[in-house]
Amino acid sequence: MSNEKVLGFNLRLKVATKYIAGTTNHNFNLEGKRRESIMKSDQGNKQWENTGRIVTFSANLYIMHGTEDNYMNVDDVRKACAANTTGYYEYGGDSADEPLVTGNCMFLKISETSDSENFATAAVDFEELEGSGGFGTQSGS
């Protein structure tokens, strides 16, 4: 298969088996965690080793009320942030064999914007729990 670009809306975030209703945008950050050291025997060359990864991500969304199977509405998200709820997450494509980033994450905070003449929006921040992360592929279709 040749290389193909990926459309943004095909990359989804699922937390605790649910999507967040009204999501318009995700920001996903994955960074290797490094520990640097230098000893005299290194003859002036700094050494480093990888000790894991740091993953933070956020979702921007329209604030949605109501209930729908497999979706968290804003009430669910507010309560999860207030309690720093943790849950398994998957980030990636929905189609079979598409690459996923997986792990356990914590709901950190929700920031809401509600002005006088637009639909209300919110941003939700997450952080992966240290040592819980992995990679996989989507099994469903």
């Binding site: 809306f9 989804r12 999501t23 318009t24 329209y62 006088s116 003449e117 639909f119």
Partner: protein
């Protein structure tokens, strides 16, 4: 569809025409257009913003003023209603030009702008 819904709302106040070409109409009348912006989520469209412009035209300044108030009242009274199949969440007036005299045709005009939020087109 939003144009049909606007036509129904404005026709309660005065003779109205969608601004999609040259029109010939007897005074007083209004013209309207809608600039539609869908709201995309990753699951698809969840609603629409429409920037709606309404131009009120008559040959007397007092008449234009009276129609302006009636149009604003009629438009903003349509929250949470379904008109011609279009579910309207809210209507907000966002701008008004103020009444001005149009020299070429010897008429008074006032341009209103509304933001209309709908569930469907």
């Amino acid at each position: 569809m939003i144009l049909q819904a606007l036509n129904n709302i404005l026709n309660e106040v005065m003779d109205s025409h969608a601004l999609i070409g040259d029109i010939e109409a007897d005074l007083p009348f209004c013209v309207f257009r809608a600039d539609t912006q869908p709201h995309q989520t990753k699951d698809g469209i969840c609603g629409y913003d429409h920037i709606v412009n309404v131009g009120i035209i008559d040959n007397e300044i007092e008449s234009v003023n009276t129609y302006t108030e009636s149009v604003i009242t009629a438009m903003t009274a349509k929250e949470n209603t379904i008109i011609s199949g279009t579910k309207i969440y809210a209507v907000i007036q966002t701008d008004e030009s103020g009444i001005y005299y149009e020299n070429e045709n010897n008429v008074y005009m006032n341009d209103l702008e509304f933001k209309v939020f709908t569930k469907n087109r």
